[in-house]
């Protein structure tokens, strides 16, 4: 008897940079599919799941978090070199995350307010997305990412097909689901029309406006959106807050937020 040849499984690694770990936890959150994922890939590095580390190179690398320290700015290059297909997951990795709010102020103000001895803190002035440092094969949006999209990306890679992650607006998801438009029917300011799909329109489904956890969609007309919000009575300060949240460093949102900043 010739022993049955075991098909070599792809090595998957998860990497953490400045982040809350919520996105990599989405992978653990795939309860029903978790065994199938573990069956389909060799989990080579996944700090939230296991301390075991398998040596690279890695077929799939999922990168969470933004670059905020000189050390991380170096480390990301080593990960890129060791990875074949590198996917950034979540708002921190794709748009600097909530910590990119510091890009609009002096980071030393924070370190001196928070740490007893700020001199031991080595940090960069800006929190930047991974694409500012290395070429990335795919960006998966969200704060956190949608676990089904995460599985979809892994599944698409393993089966050599295009992942179905559409860059259009949340409005399309709303209408597919049959939600009523909160902006038109309730007068609630909603970022859905300029926000990247992927969450399946969670907030409008609960009668709330979209907060843009997934950041700007393809060709986002932030100017027209902001003008409409102004007509609806949204103040300049609130406009700045709306465009500066989880995706504060996304180019289009950053530019729009600066327009509404008070000059004082």
């Amino acid at each position: 008897m010739v022993p049955k040849k075991e098909k070599k499984k792809a090595k998957l690694a998860v990497w953490k940079f400045a982040s809350c770990d919520g996105c990599q936890l989405s992978l653990l959150d795939c309860e029903d599919e978790l065994l199938a994922v573990a069956d389909a890939v060799d989990i080579a590095n996944f700090p939230e799941a296991s301390r075991a580390i398998v040596k690279g190179p890695y077929e799939i690398s999922l990168v969470e978090g933004s670059i905020t320290t000189p050390h991380d700015a170096e480390r990301i290059h080593r990960i890129r070199r060791a990875s074949k297909f590198l996917v950034t997951i979540g708002a921190c990795a794709t748009a600097g995350g909530i910590q990119a709010l510091r890009n609009y102020t002096d980071v030393r103000e924070f370190t001196s307010a928070i740490y007893a001895s700020p001199k031991y803190i080595t940090t960069l002035q800006n929190s930047t997305p991974i694409t500012d440092h290395i070429p990335v094969d795919l960006e998966l949006r969200g704060c956190p990412v949608n676990k089904y999209q995460l599985i979809e990306v892994v599944s698409a890679y393993l089966n050599r097909r295009k992942p179905n992650v559409s860059p259009y607006s949340v409005c399309i998801e709303c209408k597919l689901r049959g939600h009523n438009c909160v902006m038109v029917a309730r007068g609630t300011p909603c970022l859905g029309p300029i926000t990247h799909a992927g969450c399946d329109a969670v907030c409008p489904g609960f009668d709330r406006g979209c907060y843009s956890c997934f950041g700007p969609k393809e060709t986002p007309n932030t100017r027209a959106m902001a003008e409409r919000f102004e007509e609806m009575g949204v103040s300049a300060d609130d406009l700045v807050r709306m465009f500066r949240s989880f995706n504060a460093e996304a180019d289009e949102f950053r530019k729009e937020s600066i327009i509404h900043e008070r000059q004082d």
Partner: protein, 389 residues
Amino acid sequence: MDENPAFKVGDQLILQGSDFSELIVRLKAAAYRVVGPMVRDGCIVFDEISGVEDLPAGFGDNQDAATYRLRQCDDMALFGYNNGPQSVKRFLYTPQREIWKARRNRKTVSIHLPDTEPVKTAFLGVRPCDLNAVLIQDRVFTRGEYLDDDYNKRRENSLIIVVNCTEAGKTCFCSSMNTGPRATAGFDLALTEILHADHHYFLLEVGSDRGLSIVAGMPCDHASDQQLRTAAESVTRAADNMGRSIDASGLKELLIRNIDNVYWDSVGHRCLTCANCTMVCPTCFCSTVEDTTDLTGNTAHRIRRWDSCFTMDFSYIHGGSVRPSAKARYRQWIIHKLASWHEQFGTSGCVGCGRCITWCPVGIDITEEARAIRQRDIRPAEVSETMEV
């Protein structure tokens, strides 16, 4: 026992308001799922109703560009509102459906088609503009070279009960498109709701054998001349109060010769390319096909999903999207809807329901855009001059 042998297709009957629930009872007795209007999350939407108590009695709405608000009315009309965000498109041409799935077993692959048969459905409260939208989608899906099997089956299993409009909303313009406010053909039954101080009744028109089979045996009388006049006047009132209008004369030629009009830049600055207009449009029929697999690759699904000409992927070909700008996408949509649809399907693609105006988050108004182009029309002479250059 022969019930009401006097009723026939084409009859105009009177159904008392107090007997209205009988209509729903009879539809259900004939094994129809009844889909009708109801209030949900601040809007009137279409969904399955269990009885007359689900209908939006006493509800109306105020609509304008980018605004929709429900309101309580003084009367208890069952159909005293204008169109909500959804049309029956949701039910006949579903937002998403599986086309097939495949399973791999060792070395063979088997393909499985969905075996679900559509449920017999009665659509209650379809407005004349929306009925015309169904007739337009019929041309798209049931005629010509490309047939949509699923749509066909759903259509064959449907019964349409129109409710003619006795009030028009501020974004309505069916009069301009000749699709309302009264339906003339294509329905199984048509109702006109009449509400006087102490009278509540419906003019009930029988449009087909299928409709007749529901009405046969119902407690109806033939309408008197006076009642017919009252119903006609009510519909005329709606026609006179149309919130918006569009000048349809030469519209097709106008839009096509103005394809390079600089005015389109103005729409491009305002349009969010969010695709809401196409999602709420009762005639928009574009879809995309997505393939998915599970992690093992042992099962694969192909699904069809509503798509929109406002997305980048829609016009993506090798090298990129053909319509990267908002201007190009809006222009494509309005010209297809109002102009090139004629060449493709022999009718306009617009029925004047006004949804694209109400549900555009920034209130872009198809009637205003068409008017603006007419005001800035590049005359045929100018076009030929440009072409000589």
